[in-house]
């Protein structure tokens, strides 16, 4: 591989020509703006997370276009990989169906939020438009003279070494905080096997719960079992399943259908 070519492509971020860069930029501009708009429009948190992934990947591409390959990869690995997965894990724990309510609790909140947003945008745009930024320096040599990674490492371990050390303290504190917050103190002693047996005898159901599914007709887990006397046992269907089925297809587990 030609070393000079590699250096050039590293310095420019990509080795695409100007028109390609322009096209990619505007596509990413529109894509990320609309994905971000979708984030505040969609009701379900999972869709919101997926749209956030789109925005983050677009931003990673933009970083690569601006001669920041290290940040582009960190964006993909840390943000899209780790942080977004953490969001999705918590969504699974809290309940995938936790849709946001769309009723306004404060009257006119959305209108005012939109007005404030437009005002803020105009303010920022005017500020940027009036700022004296000077002619743009072409970053080719100054930015990535001896490689992007080497340059960043040099800055982190010389100029920014104290903030870097403080960052480690911050990370340790955050990990401790998460552990403390996730910890749950056991208030009652753990029930022994004898306690569990006594509880089961007292409940009157000594035999295990009937498993779901009417095997002659269906063996799906969302079908409640039929008891020996022919009556339906709704408690044989797991609560998580019945909740989900009722939410999506309410007619699926009606007792009448099972009895037929």
């Amino acid at each position: 591989m030609n070393h000079g070519f590699l250096q050039q492509s590293l310095a420019d971020g990509t080795n695409a020509d100007a028109i390609t860069r322009e096209t990619i930029f505007w596509i990413l501009f529109i894509l990320s703006s609309f994905a971000a708009l979708g984030m505040i429009m969609v009701r379900r948190a999972v869709h919101c997370a997926l749209l956030l992934a789109v925005v983050m990947l677009s931003l990673a591409t933009l970083y690569a276009m601006q001669g920041a390959p290290f940040l582009a990869f960190v964006q993909i690995i840390v943000y899209t990989g780790a942080v977004l997965m953490l969001f999705l894990f918590v969504l699974m724990l809290i309940g995938i169906s936790s849709a946001d309510s769309i009723t306004e609790t404060i009257k006119g909140q959305r209108l005012w939020a939109g007005l404030v947003a437009i005002g803020f945008f105009i303010l920022m745009a005017l500020g940027i438009g009036h700022a004296a930024l000077g002619p743009p320096v072409h970053q080719t040599d100054a930015l990535n003279g001896s490689g992007n990674l080497t340059g960043i490492a040099q800055l982190i371990f010389t100029t920014y070494v104290f903030p870097f050390e403080v960052t480690s303290a911050l990370l340790i504190t955050a990990a401790m905080g998460a552990m403390v917050l996730a910890h749950r103190e056991r208030t009652a002693p753990r029930p022994t096997q004898r306690d569990l047996a006594a509880r089961r005898l007292a409940s009157g159901h000594v035999a295990p719960e009937p498993p779901p599914g009417v095997y002659a007709l269906h063996d799906a887990v969302d079908r409640p079992a039929l008891l020996p006397d022919g009556s339906v046992a709704p408690e044989s269907v797991s609560k998580a399943i019945s909740q989900r089925v009722v939410e999506e297809k309410p007619q699926l587990v009606s007792n009448k259908e099972v009895e037929q």
Binding site: I40, L62, Q75, L143, N148, G151, I156
Partner: protein
């Protein structure tokens, strides 16, 4: 595509994230909108970095990413604690400190 267009995109994303924080009720979505705002700031840092031809902006963006990761960890742990106690992730339900 002027270099300033990156800043415009950053402002657009930041404003959208701010609106999301203001209007949404689900705490997880609010967190995601905060992440969007942090990402917009990162984009501005990287754009200014390439405009001025030095790497300081990229280093600051790197630090922002670290702080955002710490913020997400603690924030989601708080959210889980609240959800365990109140069975809801809506910010309207977490109002005990209000009275």
């Amino acid at each position: 595509m002027r270099p300033l267009d990156y800043i415009i995109l950053a402002v657009v994303l930041f404003v959208i994230g701010a609106v999301g924080v203001l209007v949404r009720r689900n705490a997880i979505i609010i967190f995601m909108c905060v992440e969007l705002m942090l990402n917009a700031c990162n984009l501005a840092f990287v754009a200014f970095s390439s405009m001025h031809g030095n790497l300081n902006g990229q280093v600051i963006a790197f630090f922002v990413m670290v702080v955002a990761a710490a913020e997400v960890v603690v924030g989601l742990a708080i959210l889980m604690a609240i959800f365990r106690a109140r069975r809801s992730a809506s910010v309207d339900d977490a109002n005990l400190l209000k009275y």
